[in-house]
């Protein structure tokens, strides 16, 4: 068992760090440290292309598809340096980390050739069409339908909570292709162009005032039949393959962002004297311990193998980080007191910590609520009997 990285890996770290620092100090200084997901989309698209030009857009992908075939450790290092340099959240997170690996694993050679290069080059931004008004935690209750019309699928229905759809070019959609099916049966996985008449995107305003999520309406939207990943009716399997990538490498980079947030809380506590209060010292220490344990938990998870088997550390990771960050938001506001509730009258958004307080309420909901996570831990991890289900 080892904590440190090898000399070669550290050399790779320096290489990434110096390139990223150069970019963030130079041409892309205007998007350095953007804490939200929606500001300056055009500049962030330019940033995606810049990453691609230097083969940093998808380093974990095979070299043949524009990646570097990077090892897990190298991906960890890049994610850490990316966050440390203050580079903005990836606009094409869904394409690079979710759809790309899924196509690499399950896509046809035509699909790979058609869709992977644009993701690698940063020219096609993707979003994910899963949740629906009636299919949240119960994702398999999807009602969006696709019916065959000659060489095309025609899609009717509605998706919701679609992150960054307003900036995306393409969407991967889970839709029901077989009439009369329920649950996981009869679903298919379709790749759909967002720029067409049958699609309408409406942003949803969130509790922090921003609009990262959207409703996406499908009213006769079309995609060619060859845009189905996996076989007809096997969409659920395809989508769960994809979900397992969600617990991937990006979490280590995310922790660097958490580090920045905790440091901001520490700075505030030192500034207003709460850092000398024994009660706050205990809470700050708990936050520090929680963040460190997140890091070593993630490293254990990665050591568990590529793809991340549903072992203990992987199964508990989502609820661990989401709960930690929500508690940090609460601690931040307790440290700041009333000063945390205000911003200059002309401020566009909220400062880092107020935004953390608000945004972190979503962390324990999206990607599987804490309640769903507990069911998964109990049922898949501990082998406890499933909750009896209704007939809906």
């Amino acid at each position: 068992m080892k904590l440190g990285f090898s000399d070669m890996e550290e050399a790779f770290r320096r290489e990434c760090a110096s390139w990223l620092d150069e970019q963030m100090a130079g041409e892309f200084a205007d998007i350095r440290g953007i804490a939200n997901l929606v500001d300056k989309p055009e500049r962030r698209k330019a940033w995606e292309r810049r990453l691609a030009e230097h083969r940093y857009s998808c380093i974990g992908w095979p070299i043949a598809w524009g990646g570097r075939d990077a090892t897990l450790n190298e991906q960890v290092i890049f994610a850490e340096e990316y966050a440390r340099a203050g580079a903005p959240n990836r606009l094409n997170h869904m394409g690079v980390e979710l759809l790309g690996p899924t196509l690499l694993a399950l896509g046809s050679s035509e699909q790979k050739a058609r869709f992977l290069p644009a993701i690698a080059e940063g020219t096609a931004i993707w979003c994910q069409g899963y949740s629906e008004p009636g299919a949240g935690s119960d994702l398999a209750a999807i009602r969006t339908r696709a019916r065959r019309d000659g060489d095309e699928w025609v899609i009717e229905g509605q998706k919701i909570w679609t992150s960054l759809a307003q900036f995306a070019d393409m969407i991967f959609v889970l839709a029901r292709t077989e009439d009369g099916t329920r649950g996981r049966e009869g679903l298919s996985f379709l790749l759909v162009d967002l720029d067409q008449p049958g699609i309408e995107i409406r942003p949803i305003r969130q509790i922090n005032g921003e609009a990262e999520f959207n409703e996406v309406f499908f009213d006769g939207a079309r995609c060619p039949v060859e845009n189905m990943v996996g076989a007809e009716g096997e969409g659920w399997t395809v989508s769960t393959t994809l979900l397992s990538f969600e617990r991937g490498i990006s979490t280590l980079g995310q922790q660097m962002q958490f580090r920045n947030e905790l440091d901001a809380v520490i700075a505030a506590a030192k500034h207003n004297g709460k850092a000398a209060d024994p009660v706050f010292r205990q809470r700050l220490a708990e936050a520090e311990i929680g963040l460190r344990l997140m890091r070593y938990g993630a490293l254990r998870m990665l050591a568990g193998g590529k793809g991340g088997a549903l072992a203990g550390a992987a199964l508990t990771y989502k609820i661990q980080w989401a709960s930690w960050r929500r508690a940090l938001g609460e601690l931040a506001m307790d440290v700041l007191g009333q000063e945390g509730e205000v911003a200059p009258a002309d401020a566009e958004g909220w400062p880092l910590l107020a935004n953390l307080y608000l945004y972190s309420r979503a962390d324990t909901i999206y990607g599987g609520t804490n309640q769903i996570q507990r069911n998964l831990i109990a049922e898949r991890g501990l082998g406890l009997p499933r909750e009896p289900r209704g007939n809906a």
């Binding site: 068992m1 460190r292 082998g383 406890l384 009896p388």
Partner: protein, 336 residues
């Protein structure tokens, strides 16, 4: 970097698990409660298993292994509530090695490694120091401002006490300070590090076992016509404890690795591991009673043994608030 047990560490974990499963736990633990120690188990651990010199360098006749291996073994001992003086042994071994005092090493280490001489260790606070296993052991390792003192138990006044944790009873020790082990603060620091790691690992093992037994019960016990483990109120509680245990495991591995590699986060890791693992054990053991219902409150059931061990661990070598305050000092970079 691979933050996972390597092949040899995995083998040691399996060997220790098999040894304690066969020789400790259940009736063995209860039988040892009368005297407060399982001497046969300790001798077998040192001699048959050959782990008496686990962390002793090979040129001194040991296995030459590190803190990761110590943690892995202590976890298994904690799982079975083994009534052995592993804590004092690990602490005294670390203190002796750090002192580099050949005479003391020659005088004590071979007998300790063979299981012929046992050590109880405690930290000097005010008057009337409480030391686990002091009334059962041959030597006392007393840590304090003046350094680490390794003395003959017969040279001290040792008053055995009725103790909550009967598998590791406390005794009140009065001893006059003689000469400490040489090496300045090093023996004390090494002993404290080994002790804290040992307790954190024991807590991890105890918590894991308490959880596993409760999960097994949840699958068998039926109420309202279905297993109680199918109710969300029940499974969410167990899921929360699972999340904590996974973090506790990360904490123990981090601390063990940091010690072996002399990593800059070494002190932080130890404070984190002790506070987090002890808290986790307390919660899991408390839930073990609650989720078993009435049977969990009986003397006959083992739940109270875990519950009491967890409490004892929480108080030893600094409680949760103490270690979190130490973390606060490191992270807030002041000397408050």
């Amino acid at each position: 970097m691979a933050f996972a047990l390597d092949e040899q560490q995995q083998m040691i974990a399996e060997t220790a698990a098999a040894f304690f499963a066969e020789n400790a736990g259940g009736e063995r633990t209860r039988a040892a409660m009368a005297s407060g120690i399982d001497r046969d188990l300790w001798r077998a651990y040192c001699r048959e298993l050959g782990f008496g010199g686990l962390t002793v360098p090979e040129d001194l006749g040991g296995a030459g292994l590190g803190h990761v291996e110590l943690a892995v073994v202590a976890e298994q001992a904690g799982r079975t509530l083994a009534a052995i003086p592993l804590l004092g042994h690990a602490m005294a071994t670390a203190a002796l090695l750090a002192s580099d005092d050949r005479a003391a090493i020659d005088a004590h280490l071979p007998a300790m490694m063979a299981g012929d001489r046992s050590v109880a260790a405690g930290e000097r606070g005010g008057e009337g120091l409480l030391v686990p296993h002091a009334a059962q052991c041959d030597l006392l390792l007393l840590l304090g401002e003046g350094g680490a003192h390794l003395i003959d138990a017969s040279a001290a006044t040792v008053e055995p006490l009725k103790s909550l944790d009967e598998t590791r009873p406390l005794a009140r020790v009065h001893a006059s300070a003689g000469d400490p082990l040489p090496g300045g603060a090093a023996p004390c620091e090494a002993a404290r590090a080994a002790g804290v790691l040992c307790l954190a690992a024991e807590a991890l093992g105890g918590a894991q076992e308490a959880l596993d037994r409760t999960v097994a019960f949840a699958k068998e016990r039926e109420q309202f016509g279905r297993p109680v483990g199918s109710f969300q109120a029940y499974k969410h509680r167990l899921a929360n404890r699972t999340v904590e245990i996974e973090q506790a495991r990360s904490a123990v591995w981090w601390a063990a690795c940091a010690l072996d590699e002399g990593h800059e986060t070494r002190a932080l890791a130890l404070h984190a591991a002790k506070s987090f693992c002890a808290d986790t054990y307390l919660r899991v053991a408390g839930d073990m009673i609650q989720l078993h219902g009435g049977i969990g409150f009986t003397w006959e059931h083992d739940a109270h043994l875990f519950f009491k061990r967890a409490r004892a661990i929480a108080n030893m070598l600094g409680d949760g608030p103490h270690h979190r305050e130490r973390v606060a000092r490191i992270m807030l970079d002041d000397a408050a």
